[in-house]
């Protein structure tokens, strides 16, 4: 018996196989991108061709799931057509919504596909009523994905001041810098989310084993070092260990995974229409486990036990094995 839908569970799909896994695991909606720099998970071997997307939309719709297509990077000067084509292809494939952040892309979508639902990607870093209002009035966005730096109270207040839906992250990698406004990656490697659709690109990652320590480098800079008894991690720049005032620490953020399962009911009451799981670059096992766990939590929002069961189920899939409720609890700042 299907539970009454409280909030929409929006799940990542890096490949067609992952999309099928997400839908089978109970996703209300899935989001995915094309295999090029028009989306912010432009990793090698990942994402969809146009025909794969069309098939995926048919598959998902057949099972009652919506498909959102991310065209959420910033179009390159002189090459804006690539992004326009991505929007057109998504519309042609029957996508239910486009996620965008660049004014050029939003403009094209709003003008050429006025009936296609437009969502504002977190890459637009719009976390205030004024910013969201600008995009709503100028492009008619229907939903904004909120930056991961707002507390539950702030989200509640925000929802009273805007007319569009909000979607909040509930699991996955946490971006500590304002999303879509970060050049740390290009400083070290020449590639960044806004320039090429990747952060801390694998092309510039090197793991070096010597004696006991495993060193993870990005663009030649040492980002972290792991002892034999420590879990290894990917050298995402802002999750690294650095020395300041003579002491080594995870200066910007610990390599933890966001898990807001315990806050779902609060977020729902704060007005969130959708819960988003991050992880298009993660595999089918991750998607299946995470979506299943969160779907059961979403289906029984008031059930504390269901919420508490999520974290242990997902322990092996989290980086460093550690989870956090992130900024949703105000002490994060």
């Amino acid at each position: 018996m299907a539970a009454v839908q409280s909030a929409e569970l929006v799940c990542p799909a890096g490949t067609p196989a992952a999309l099928r896994a997400a839908v089978a695991a109970g996703a209300h909606a899935v989001y995915c991108g094309f295999r090029n720099e028009t989306n912010a998970r432009n990793f090698p071997g990942l994402n969809f061709s146009e025909s794969e997307l069309a098939n995926a939309v048919e598959f998902a719709h057949g099972r009652g799931s919506r498909v959102f297509v991310t065209v959420n990077t910033f179009a390159r000067a002189g090459a804006v057509d690539l992004w326009r084509q991505a929007v057109d292809a998504a519309a042609a494939a029957g996508a239910d919504a486009i996620l965008a952040s660049d004014i050029a892309v939003l403009d094209h979508a709003a003008t050429r596909h006025p009936n296609l639902r437009l969502h504002l990607s977190v890459q637009a870093a719009a976390g205030t009523p004024e910013a969201i209002g600008f995009y709503a009035e100028t492009f008619g966005i229907k939903r904004a994905v909120l930056p991961r730096v707002l507390s539950v109270e702030e989200i509640a207040r925000l929802n009273t001041e805007i007319d569009v839906e909000t979607e909040v992250f509930v699991f996955g990698g946490l971006c500590v810098m304002a999303e879509g406004r970060c050049a740390l990656s290009s400083y070290a490697t020449g590639k960044s989310p806004n320039l090429t659709g990747v952060c801390s690109p694998p092309s510039h990652v090197n793991y070096i084993e010597d004696e006991d320590m495993l060193t993870a480098k990005l663009g030649g800079f040492t980002i972290d070092r792991f002892a034999p008894d420590e879990p290894a991690g990917y050298p995402t720049l802002c999750k690294g260990r650095f020395i300041t005032k003579g002491c080594a620490s995870h200066l910007f953020e610990d390599p933890v995974t966001l898990n807001a399962a315990a806050l779902l009911v609060s977020l729902y009451r704060a007005g969130a229409s959708a819960f988003k799981i991050e992880g298009r670059q993660r595999g089918k096992a991750y998607v299946t486990q995470v979506v299943k766990a969160f779907r059961s939590a979403v289906d029984s929002l008031d059930d504390d036990e269901a919420a508490a069961a999520v974290a242990p189920r997902l322990a092996t899939l989290t980086e460093g094995g550690r989870q956090t409720a992130g900024a949703y609890r105000k002490v994060w700042r």
Binding site: G14, T15, P16, A17, A18, F43, P44, G45, L46, S49, P201, P202, S203, V205, N206, Y207, E209, L214, P228, D229, E230, P231, A232, G233, R282, G283, K284, A285, Y286, T288, Q289, T316, L317, E319, G320, G321
Partner: protein, 183 residues
């Protein structure tokens, strides 16, 4: 937390038995399997198009040899090489045999096993990631790899699945990353 690649390893005596076996037959068989797979499922290799050929060394920590794999669709090549042989492949993936097989058929999540140090990677991280994504999409089972269909496929996958699960438990391999297929 244990050392890398020691969970779920094949026992010493098995390694001793395997060591003297001739390698050429294995080389030929594996090469043929990969090439035929490339012919049947070209879209999987499509995902690796920009790396054609993608060369890497698959190093089972508990076998006395390694596999130098050159992925190029129907021109793919698998060679069985000694552990100390000089290797042109700059990229190496190392784990116990059971873990490697579990990565192939989706029992294990590559990220989880990387975090837990059961899997180590050296060299071209981008190529390994591309391969991981291609494998994810390929949905490989033993039958899929061999090109079987219908009842034989179903039987092989079932048998292989059960045997591997049993072996994993007996050898103390990491727990599967998700609930097994069919459950």
């Amino acid at each position: 937390m244990v050392d890398d690649s020691s969970r779920g390893t094949v026992p010493e005596f098995v390694q001793t038995l395997i060591r003297p076996l001739p390698r050429l037959p294995l080389t030929l068989v594996l090469t043929r399997i990969v090439r035929r797979f490339g012919a049947r499922r070209p879209e999987v290799f499509e995902r690796l198009a920009e790396y054609d050929p993608l060369t890497l060394l698959i190093d089972p920590s508990d076998l006395p040899f390694s596999f130098r794999v050159r992925l190029a669709g129907t021109r793919s090549q698998v060679d069985v090489v000694g552990k100390t042989a000089p290797c042109e492949a700059a990229t190496r993936v190392r784990a116990s045999l059971l873990v490697l097989m579990g990565l192939l058929d989706g029992t294990y999540d590559a990220d989880a096993l990387f975090f837990s140090r059961d899997l180590t990677i050296e060299g071209d991280t981008e190529a390994v990631l591309a391969l991981r994504n291609a494998i994810e999409e390929a949905e490989l089972t033993p039958a899929e790899l061999l090109g079987l269909t219908g009842l034989p496929a179903h039987l092989l996958d079932r048998t292989a699945g059960d045997s591997l699960a049993l072996l994993r438990r007996q050898l103390g391999a990491p727990a599967p990353s998700h609930v097994a297929r069919g459950q």
